[in-house]
């Protein structure tokens, strides 16, 4: 599975930011046509993002947050952006399965029309309402294109009639529900944006909590957050050594056709192997170990 430790939002109507988005080496770039673009400039941002994807080269996957299809801009966004085959569409305000299915269909039609490999363009959902959170598992399985789900914390807090706090306790249940739904559906869970970009201490604590809960990565809105998230998601040396030992024991057991696998007197089962593989993928992404070191 592709690593998505950081999904960096980039305002869609700023040529300089679109040009330089790859410089910070996030795992994913999201060109934003929704909240970051004023209503009068939706058409201009759409053209700019389309041309940025068509003519620029980026070192990572590139997606586009389109406007929701219930707005006057959503269908136009999809029509123009799908011409240049983004890696994924990030769909805001995901709440109803029929919306996911409708967007999936539009993407399928575009893939056929332009001759792209069927299923190539993925979907990442942002869930921003109480109804969406309660429906999150069904949303995540509504289309095979869905590879990850995330949460729009500010909109959700407003829907919950909650007061936002630095610690984010008011969204704890939703955050956990999102993670449960993602795991049950077999898609990635992307932690929400931390809005106060100047509060590095609060941001760090928030990322650490997300990692502890089990999130695969975080949506970020400032480039300076990218390296910090990668650092926090980077496994410690003792975790890496342990993961390497587990995989080695697992591979030896497979080679010997041994039914029971043990390491240092403790039984190793499938979840432990999965966790070890995940640790090594993150370590490889940070360049701490080379591809093959865990094999």
């Amino acid at each position: 599975m592709k690593l998505r430790r950081t999904m960096l939002f980039v305002p869609g109507n700023d040529p300089g930011k679109l040009l330089n988005a790859g410089v910070y080496h996030p795992d994913s770039i999201i060109f934003d046509l929704e909240d970051a673009v004023s209503i009068n400039e939706k058409d201009a941002a759409r053209d700019l993002v389309k041309n940025a994807i068509k003519y620029n080269e980026y070192p990572c996957e590139v997606g586009v947050r389109v406007n929701h299809i219930s707005t006057p801009f959503g269908y136009d966004d999809l029509e123009e952006i799908l011409k240049v085959c983004p890696d994924f569409i990030r769909l805001p305000k995901s709440e109803a399965e029929e919306d996911i299915v409708a967007v999936d269909k539009i993407i399928s039609q575009a893939e056929q029309k332009y001759g792209y490999e069927p299923g190539k363009i993925k979907m990442v959902l942002t869930i921003e309402t109480a109804k969406g959170i309660l429906n999150s598992y069904k949303l995540a399985i509504a289309s095979k294109r869905v590879v990850a789900i995330g949460m729009g914390a500010e909109d959700l807090a407003a829907d919950l009639k909650a007061t936002r706090s630095k610690g984010g306790q008011e969204i704890n249940f939703a955050r956990s529900q999102l993670l449960l739904s993602a795991r049950a559906a077999g898609v990635q869970a992307i932690d929400n944006v931390f809005a106060d970009v100047s509060d590095i201490e609060g941001f760090t604590a928030d990322v650490q909590m997300g990692k502890q809960l089990g999130f695969d990565g975080k949506s970020v809105i400032h480039p300076k957050h990218v390296a910090l998230v990668h650092q926090i998601y980077s496994p410690a040396e003792n975790e890496i050594v342990k993961a390497q030992k587990i995989l080695l024991a697992y591979q030896e057991a497979l080679a010997n056709k041994s039914g029971v696998i043990a390491l240092d007197g403790k039984m190793i089962d499938a979840p432990i192997v999965d966790r070890a593989e995940r640790v090594l993928r993150y370590a490889q992404a940070m360049g701490i170990i080379q591809d093959g070191d865990g094999k």
Binding site: G16, L19, D47, L48, N51, A52, V84
Partner: protein, 100 residues
């Protein structure tokens, strides 16, 4: 319609896209002129000596792709890359083609 391009149509009115108060952006203004007058492109850019020809070619190619003729296009460049010049020209054309 070409892939990644835009629909064809006639320029009906004066329209703009882009900005001059932002680095790496460009303000493109397009307006219809007399039938038969062809395409006129005026460029202001801090890098006109180095890139004036390239900017002109980019604008010209978007106009040709969209079959737009008999227009005056004014380009105020602030160090925009080719993709931004293309995009702002496309948006200006699209806006100029819209009925008021």
């Amino acid at each position: 319609m070409n892939q990644g391009g835009m629909d064809l149509g006639k320029v009906l009115r004066k329209a703009q896209a882009g900005r001059v108060d932002k680095k790496n952006d460009v303000l493109v203004t397009i307006e219809p002129t007399e039938p038969g007058s062809g395409i006129q492109i005026e460029i202001k850019s801090p890098v006109i000596a180095e890139f004036g020809r390239q900017i002109r070619q980019t604008v010209q190619s978007v106009l040709e792709e969209t079959a737009v003729d008999d227009v005056l296009v004014q380009v105020e460049d602030k160090g925009a890359m080719d993709f931004a010049i293309r995009a702002r020209t496309e948006t200006a054309i699209r806006r100029a083609q819209r009925e008021v």
